[in-house]
Each structure stands twice: as C-alpha cells, then as structure tokens.
Amino acid sequence: MMQLGANPPDHRRACGRGLRSAGRSALLEAVVPITLGPRMVTFRRDVLGWAGASHFVLEPLTDDADDAPAVFAALRCTDTVQLRGGQVVPGPVFLVAPPGLFAPGYQVPLDERFAESLDLIVPDDAALLAIVTQRNPLERSTVNLFSPIVVNRHTGMADQFVPASSEAEVGWLVRTPLPSSLVTEDRD
C-alpha cells in the first residue's frame, strides 16, 4: 500500500490533480523544462521499447544566432542497448518539447502513486517533456501527449507516465498531429 512520507498528504493530492499550464502563459512555462537544473536525466526504469536505456542527457536545440532558452531538445541516451538479435547498439535519441507548446492548457492527471515514485510533492517539482515522432512527409509527424516524460527538476529522476486509462478516456493521443505552424512553414 501507499506510504505517505513526512510531507502532508494534501500536498501530494495537489500534485495528483495535475500539472497545468493555461492560456497565454503556456509558452512561457514551456521554456522552463528545457533549462532544467540537472541536465542528466535518469529514468527509474528502462524506457519502454528500449531495454537497457535509462541514462540520458538533455541537449537543448539552441540557435547560435539567438541566446534564448531552447524549447526543443534532444534527449540522448548514454547507455548502449542490446537488440533482440543480441547486437549491441547506441541507445536512442528522442526529439522532445514541452507539451504546452502543442496544446496550450495541457495538463496531465498524474496519479498519486506515480507522483510519489518520483518524489514529486507539488506540481512545480515536475517538468514535462513530450516525445515527437518525425515522419516522412513531415505533415505526418506527431507528438505523444498521452504519455509524457515527467522529470523531477530537482533530482533529474524521470519516468514516462503511462495512464491507467485509454486515449479516449484521457483525451490526449499517442499520435497527436503537430500544429501546421510547425510543419508547413520551412518545408523543403
């Protein structure tokens, strides 16, 4: 059963209610996750689909001509992983960005159990990262808003949140189409 630590249970519940960003401030908040304190991100368990991949480095994709904090980042695995055939290969690299960038007002209802596992006491303890899947053509690219990566911004501990409910019940999709402003403008 769940054990509450030294922190009052109502703080736990406040976190369980969800991590939100709303309206105009979404993009501002969205900047924060990429400039997390710890740049090393350690997953509590191997990333789903990648056995052996738990240590990552968050590398902001900055523009040399602009010293603004980055919004997109590469989440690069520093472990090697073994494929089913036994072949050892470098770990995966993910393109990530704060979910609020794609869906202003985005929030995810973390359950108490999950929040506790990452030592999240209040919503501000957590940073959210959504994984972008690039496809060809780019218009088919999507972002996973159903199952974001949650990082404890103080410790760098992370886990991919897996809702107990279906996509229909949660309201966010594993394959959410990207806003057209992101995929059409600079197209080759």
């Binding site: 501002l28 602009d66 904090p69 594993v174």
Partner: protein, 105 residues
C-alpha cells in the same frame, strides 16, 4: 499458466504483498479487478503499454534520421518564445538567469 476460478469479492495473493480482488463481473463479460501492490511495482494495461512502446521505437528512429526539420522547428519555436518573453503583459516572469546560463553551457 496458472488459472484460478474466483467469485466477485474473492482475492488472489501473489507473493507476500500483492493482492488482487475480483470487484465485479458484468453481464457482458467485463471484469473489474482491484490490485494492491507496493509502489515500486508497476501496474499497466497491456495494450496501452504496447502502444507507447511501439511509438517510442518509431520516435527514436525518426529523431536519428537525417532531418534538419527539428532544428528549424526548434529555432522557430525559440523565436516565438523570445517574443512572448519580451511582452511585458505576462503575469509572471519566466526563465531566471541561471536557466539561460545552463542553456548556453
């Protein structure tokens, strides 16, 4: 595979600290289960986990590919964020100086 027959309200014990309770069985065959387990034990629906797993594999393949789109999209998003930061109307100040230094390191 071990198979057990249980009635609603009856429990199954797995090891010392996992308890599975059959909560109800509906007429259309849906079974509601209650599960008590230590917090380090993950409990997931199989089909949900599989969907995320396959997406994670595809996402890494896409990110590793030769695409400059991500960098361009990142630049554009960064510019939008800069414009938003320059706007004096937001209620709260973003991005403390420490964060900017971290991004440039």
């Amino acid at each position: 595979m071990l198979t057990l027959t249980r009635e609603p309200g009856e429990k199954i014990l797995v090891g010392d600290d996992i308890v599975i309770t059959v909560v109800s069985v509906s007429e259309n065959g849906r079974v509601r289960l209650g599960i008590e387990a230590p917090r380090q034990i993950r409990i997931d629906r199989e089909e949900v986990l599989e969907r995320i797993r396959s997406e994670n594999i595809e996402a890494a393949a896409g990110a590793a590919g030769p695409s400059s789109w991500a960098a361009r999209a990142a630049r554009r998003a960064n510019r939008q964020a800069s414009v938003a930061r320059a706007d004096p109307t937001p209620a709260r100040q973003p991005a403390e100086p420490r964060a900017t230094a971290a991004a440039g390191s």
